[in-house]
Amino acid sequence: MKSRVLNTVLASSAIVLAAAGMTVGPVDLPVGEMVGQLFAGERSASTIVFLELRVPRGVLGLLVGASLGLAGAAMQGLLRNPLAEPGIVGISGSAAFGAVVVFYSGLAALFSLALPLGGIAGAFVGVMVLFILSGRQASTLTIVLAGIAVNAFAGAATALALNLSPNPYAAFEIIFWQLGSFADRSFEHVLFAGPLMAVGWFMLLWRPGDLDALSLGEETAASLGVSLPHLRFRIIAGASFAVGAAVAVSGVIGFVGLVVPHLLRPLVGFQPSRLLLSSALGGAVLVLAADIFVRVLPTATELKIGVVTAIVGAPFFLLLIYRLRQEEV
């Protein structure tokens, strides 16, 4: 399938879902009346709900989904392994730890950019540790094991930080950090996390051909003019920015970076470079769809979005591992 066609379909779906998501919520908004008010620039309870709650939620879903999908595709291209995914390899978990430390220490209250930067720093450390543990082109087993290690440590550290926080509510909020949610997010979150996610996207989408060359091995890639140290740094830093800022405002939403690239890979001829943009768009589609799902589900408390992506993603993950182990044999 031509990239243009695929990306147009994905982008349109994302826009449709974002718009649909803005019509979903606990309150029934009088759409006609509200649209009129919006155009007239009037302010009412409905427009406030729409502009300050629904729209930021939709925008954030789009940005976070794109970041997760893109980071997943880029990491898989770099590590040459379809199991590399920010959640599985522990980058999201490390980002959560970074964000939690910044948030509960009160730093985030001092200046709001501190929160996504904390997430980015945490993500960066997580990636570095992963690389040290698993090496440059690791086998499936090594990557999964390294990811387990990073996740275990990051998760424990996060729980510890939350329990040590003097605020009694902190310990209960671990559910947000580990399962993710877009509830009650505001435009402020979009404003301070959005640009940092965009920095990550820029780094990940720059020179996509490098990842293509890498599919022939490091030596061939180097002979084709790819600077391997630069590439590695770019992907690591880019994934840290994108995932770090995303997790800082939405908690850990797992499996997006696994499911989306995997589904789209055959549609882009398995080419890592083409997969990047498509995965970003596909990630946005998946997250927006999941966010609509948690809001229409008739539960007393809104379900955390990470639960939905895990229910979809975990079986996927197991299937992938199974297939890859067969191949490695």
């Binding site: 040459r80 599919s215 030596e219 002979s223 084709l224 003019g225």
Partner: protein, 251 residues
């Protein structure tokens, strides 16, 4: 076009892999680099390609040191095919070959170069096949096509034919010879003494990190030099004016 390496020394863990090696490659030349396993052939190739840093010594391409050349320019001038090329994703043959155009960026002549490469390696009919489904010989042809797509002046090839059947071994040596005739300089690391003798314009014999022979195949692939380097006795002779060198028994 002239590639010159002088005084190349590479050491790893206080063990000398290459010791003061000089090699040169001129336009239109097909040079074979031979030697026993562990002689440093692959390392030499990597140093020439600029992928590995030599401890001492210089590599000059047309008078310019390759370390001062930009990565992109070097990638355009020199094509390299390593011994082991994994292909991580089930890419189509056409895509793999097209990767050879990466150093040239988005240039419109790219498609034609890819087509030519496919033609020369007779892989055009495989273009939509996934690389993972190809046989060993087909795969090698595709990888060589990728190399040819770069349209570099220098081709550095590391043991391309060792795992191929006799048909493809001969076909590839023909292909490299025709590349040399078209104006490239081709340097091949290989093991087959007879093919080297028949196809190469020059042979460089490496042993224990040193160059023990550098010249026409007839002067380098002599019984005594081969014996010293490989520790095997050989039978030699001439058929149709071409010399064969057959490893016969252990020394």
């Amino acid at each position: 076009m002239r590639l010159e390496a002088q005084g190349i020394t590479v050491a790893k863990d206080s063990h000398l892999i290459l010791d003061d090696v000089n090699v040169c490659l001129g336009k239109g030349e097909l040079v074979g680099v031979l030697g026993p396993n562990g002689a440093g052939k692959s390392t030499l190739l990597r140093v020439l390609a600029g992928l590995e840093m030599a401890g001492t010594g210089t590599v000059m391409l047309d008078g310019q040191s390759i370390s001062t050349m930009g990565t992109a320019e070097r990638a355009r001038m020199m094509g390299y095919l390593p011994q082991k090329t994994p292909v991580s994703w089930p890419l189509s043959v056409e895509r793999v070959v097209a990767l050879g155009r990466l150093p040239h960026g988005d240039d419109p002549a790219g498609n034609e170069a890819v087509e030519r490469a496919l033609e020369m390696t007779k892989t055009a009919n495989l273009r939509d096949r996934s690389v993972g489904t190809l046989s060993g010989g087909e795969r090698m042809r595709v990888l060589v096509a990728r190399l040819l797509a770069v349209e570099a002046r220098v081709l550095l090839v590391d043991e391309p034919i060792a795992a191929l059947d006799p048909y493809f071994q001969l076909e590839f040596m023909e292909l490299f010879r025709s590349q040399a005739h078209a104006g490239c300089g081709v340097l091949i690391v290989m093991h087959d003494l007879t093919l080297a003798s028949r196809f190469c314009d020059r042979v460089v014999l490496l042993s224990g990190g040193h160059v023990v022979g550098d010249g026409a195949p007839g002067t380098v692939l002599t019984e005594s030099l081969v014996q010293d380097a490989y520790h095997v006795n050989v039978q030699t002779g001439v058929i149709d004016g071409e010399r064969y060198v057959l490893p016969w028994d252990l020394r």
